[in-house]
Symmetry: C4
Subunit: 195 residues, 4 copies
Amino acid sequence: MKKYRLEAFSDGVIAILITIMVLNMEVPRGISVDKLVPVIPVFLTYVLSFIYLAIYWSNHHHLFEAAATINRPILWANLNLLFWLSLIPFATGWMGENHFAPGPAALYGLVLLFAAMSYWGLRQLVLASLASQARLHHPVGRNWKGWLATVLYLPAIVLAFLWEWVSLALYVLTALLWLIPDRRLQQALVDRKSG
Amino acid sequence: MKKYRLEAFSDGVIAILITIMVLNMEVPRGISVDKLVPVIPVFLTYVLSFIYLAIYWSNHHHLFEAAATINRPILWANLNLLFWLSLIPFATGWMGENHFAPGPAALYGLVLLFAAMSYWGLRQLVLASLASQARLHHPVGRNWKGWLATVLYLPAIVLAFLWEWVSLALYVLTALLWLIPDRRLQQALVDRKSG
Amino acid sequence: MKKYRLEAFSDGVIAILITIMVLNMEVPRGISVDKLVPVIPVFLTYVLSFIYLAIYWSNHHHLFEAAATINRPILWANLNLLFWLSLIPFATGWMGENHFAPGPAALYGLVLLFAAMSYWGLRQLVLASLASQARLHHPVGRNWKGWLATVLYLPAIVLAFLWEWVSLALYVLTALLWLIPDRRLQQALVDRKSG
Amino acid sequence: MKKYRLEAFSDGVIAILITIMVLNMEVPRGISVDKLVPVIPVFLTYVLSFIYLAIYWSNHHHLFEAAATINRPILWANLNLLFWLSLIPFATGWMGENHFAPGPAALYGLVLLFAAMSYWGLRQLVLASLASQARLHHPVGRNWKGWLATVLYLPAIVLAFLWEWVSLALYVLTALLWLIPDRRLQQALVDRKSG
């Protein structure tokens, strides 16, 4: 099974999700600049979600550049990831319109948690497929970022009901964490090319 | 006629349809978690329709991977399929907002029925084009899933007016049915590669 | 200049336009099937516009399959075509919501007229580029369908203010006219392949 | 790192942005042609923004046709550009609905300014990557259009609060300026092909 359509479809879905969120920013009903003030929290949530989706797209890009071929489980793990990502605009809209209130902030964390776990599952399948083709024992177990993200999202969801700003800070922190490239995948790519 | 643009255009349309449906989930007007309760039926319908569109995309992917080339009838049969798929968000929105009421549930089934028949027609044309190129007699007649889906959708549409939950159960059942891969197409692909 | 990005971008824009129109069909506020009655004219206009956009996509597909390379004028003529096509959902929405009233029906024809002229211009540029490369004298002048479409759209726009159903019939007729394939382009493609 | 996914993703985002804006043009609530009058300023802003996004897409196309390969900084500079472009529909909607009032006209200029600076950054990275590969000293410093655009946007933002029509004229002027092709990039492309 060739990978270009899986990539093209994922690109399409992520491109739409990343732009659908701007529709949540309602055009203000006046002309003075201070009419933009209520839009600011919506805008900031948009920035955060844009960065998250950009990270997922970038990691997805690296992951499938490493992938040699795709099989049926990878195809459905990818659709599962796209499903959780597709809920980000909804969670973003609710959180942005309510200035980071407890309920919306917890839901946002929950969607991010499921997206992170879906990506982790997809990544395992791609690495396993790579390992089986290269007949190599890839160290697929040591995925510290996947674990750390889960460890950060879980308290963030609970803390949203006590101090929502702490959970927001944890979302920003996790985004920064994911911005660091995944060296192991790049190594796998180099191995495959030189192998 | 090359197939990559037909694939790219179909990917684009299905990617948009699958994400447009989240716009149907209106952001709640409060901050407490129980404001999410009225969104739950909309969410569940979204999940069902996401799975249906994912199945169509996945089957479309397999179908055109098998296809060697496309002709004018295939191009228009594909546009016909995309037309019926494009009505899924509308039917999903109506059914989700009305908690699976009879009328919306019947319309949903009708759209699924026409989509299934369109896919069946497209599949026949691709298999016929494959057979004519390979000068093989492909067993294109035995499409039991296409028939079974029609046999399930038709009573589901009628039953929607009596017990809407039965028809909903039939939609879920048919989705599960379609999740099973189409072995014959994969065989055709293997034949073409080794042939 | 390579043509795959121009094709991919046009595919994206047309895929979005063709699906955006379903958003114009507002989900009815009741559950009985007769709530669908006011949606019917919107649905029929959607069908007509879907067919028009499908025709443009299909013709665009054939045109650029024939094209060997693209230059700057072709790139901007293509963007010009996409601009006029992008107004179709607006014109469709206005006409559909008002049951084919004179004003909306005339605007719809005006948008179709400009789209047809833009396509005609794009086609001339592609054929001219093909002719200059192949050092052939292609009979680019005899574009009877382009002329006939213009001849039909112009009275349709005027007649919309007298008998809107006549102009609607002319729109349907022109769509049927465009469904017939363009033999000359296919010939050019065959010439280039065998040349 | 291959460039085709970056191109496909950017094509997707720009295609969505360019078509999302038509959704801002609300379908009029009457049937007479003069109901279109309030839509005219929205339409004109749409035309201006369509041209801007078309220019960005066209320049992006040329830029990455010249690019041989992409690295991590280029990938994120591209996402940064897409972020600022994604704000154009919001700024367009606000300006169009308020007939070019001071506040909206200044915000529109601000978004254009950040988009222009992002493109300038992306272009520097691509040219630097080209230069390092070709071991050539490309004259990357002389980007007079980038400078001139900044010089025109800055007063346009300030002047929006005094004479909004002057700033609108400056936006139109800058668009015309960018329509002129970038000869240096085309030269780099020729060099790479013949080199």
